[in-house]
Amino acid sequence: MDITLIPGYQYMPELVEMMLKIVFIFTMNVGVFAPLLGYVERKQSALMQDRIGANRAAILGFTIFGLWHTMTDAIKLIAKEDFIPEGADKPLHFLAPFVAVVPALIAFAVIPFGGTYYLWGHEAHLIIADLDVGILFIFAVAGIGTYGAVIAAWASNNNWSLLGGVRTAAQMVSYEVAMGLTIVGVLMVYESLKLTEIALIQEDFFMWGIFLQPVGFLLFLACALAENKRVPFDIPEAESELIAGYFTEYSGLKFAMFWMAEFVEIVTISAILTVLFFGAWHIPFVTHDGLLSLLTSVVGADIGNLLLMFIHLAVFWGKVCFLIVFLMLIRWSLPRFRYDQIMKLGWKIILPLALVNILATGVILLVVK
């Protein structure tokens, strides 16, 4: 049978490409980073506290530096009792962890993790959905993630949970305002909301966001950390005050899903930081075309494109990993902020600074042009 007779044949390459990209991003986030970050967090804290860290679990005598402990944790959590408290709203209690995890994953749809490559007559774009309003989409979806925590808190029928949920709502709303404003400077400089365009401009090393918007970077980093709800901004969880905050009444795998949401958020934040401020998939002082022509002259056009794609993927995920380690470093270095300090930082320091940053960026852009 002739394959071209199948209806929609001409869309098959796009479909296959799209499925591959979705599977890749899903695997990277849920399959690789979520379990691995648990391990990294453990080992990094052990390193920073001069400990050895988890290293006992072994299969056939191989401990592989304690990596099995991620597996033992997963087995344990799956085999744990799934507890629903008395008086809880059962459907909402069940729904909340999913509401927390899914937005963090969806946000990745608009983040480009590579450029455009011509593979055997097919044009491959390494982004799942190249939206014109990419960065706004991320903010919109991240806003939904807040509901996960608030619904969990409300559905648990527990005072500590509810307090944690209220704190989450207050913190998220405060920092979303500031976060939206910190990014305006970046958008003014690159004159685009489209993440692929922002990334393409950064092919030039001196056009990286960190050089053009250093203040914007610091403010965005602070806001992103706050949105992530981890130390030093873990006031919604606050073990010493609220037991475990909004997920106090969750056990087993559902509890692990809130963790997974946090870890996926870290990856997403690192990816956004990479695209906006650290030149996305570009290697400093090496242009796309320059490297491509070099590779093409050695191995041919198609293989050259493929090689370039893998190099760019490695560069992008390398930068993401670096930023993840940096974020973890912050998590294990700083103590928790008090609630009023967090509010003060958000409304009285970051928000005015972001506005001043917008004004200064506008003035400089006017003068330069």
């Binding site: 506290q49 006992r56 304690g66 033992t72 087995i75 344990k76 744990k80």
Partner: protein, 178 residues
């Protein structure tokens, strides 16, 4: 891991080319290296527990580093320090709140038997109200002893049958303990 009876069955036929195991053993293996602790610390043994958890002795090596202060998420109730009769209802409540499977670790002489507090106010060991899995005596016990106890508990957990669970609530209700 591995089936003990090697004389017959698949392992005899297939030799060393495959590893056979049971779900019970795999889950047991997962559980024994992944205790989330609930530190129920009331008294001076807590100082020694800090040493156990800290860098010098490092309980994280056994995968048991993470303290969860919500009993729903904890697996191992570590009772550290003197438990008075006033404390018993609280301890019982925390135990009842923990999600299955759960284990209890008696840390120090007071928790094991009341220790030197042989008087009207102190519970003569928490096993009067809770099923205890491991007793570690000492006043306070050395960290080495605690790890010995933890490894013995790991052996217990490795070979546990699913039929042992759920363990259910403690022996006494809150009213009976008052």
């Amino acid at each position: 891991m591995g089936v003990e009876n090697e004389e017959q069955g698949f392992e005899h036929v297939l030799g060393d080319s495959v590893i056979l195991t049971t779900v019970e053993q795999v889950v047991g293996w997962g559980r024994k290296f992944s205790f989330f602790l609930y530190p129920f610390i009331t008294a001076c043994c807590g100082m020694e527990f800090m040493s156990v958890a800290g860098p010098r002795y490092d309980i994280d090596r056994f995968g048991a580093a993470l303290p969860r202060f919500s009993p729903r998420q904890a697996d191992l109730l570590i009772v550290v320090g003197t438990i008075s009769h006033k404390q018993l209802p609280i301890l019982n409540k925390v135990y009842n709140q923990m999600a299955e499977p759960k284990w209890v670790f008696a840390y120090g002489a007071c928790v094991v038997s009341g220790g030197m507090y042989d008087n009207y106010s102190t519970a003569q060991g928490i096993d009067t109200i809770l099923p205890v899995d491991v007793y570690v005596p000492g006043c306070p016990p050395r960290p080495e002893m605690v790890f010995d106890g933890l490894m013995k508990l790991q052996d217990i957990v490795q070979n546990e049958k699913f039929s042992k669970w759920p363990r259910g609530a403690g022996k006494y209700t809150a009213e009976e303990l008052k």
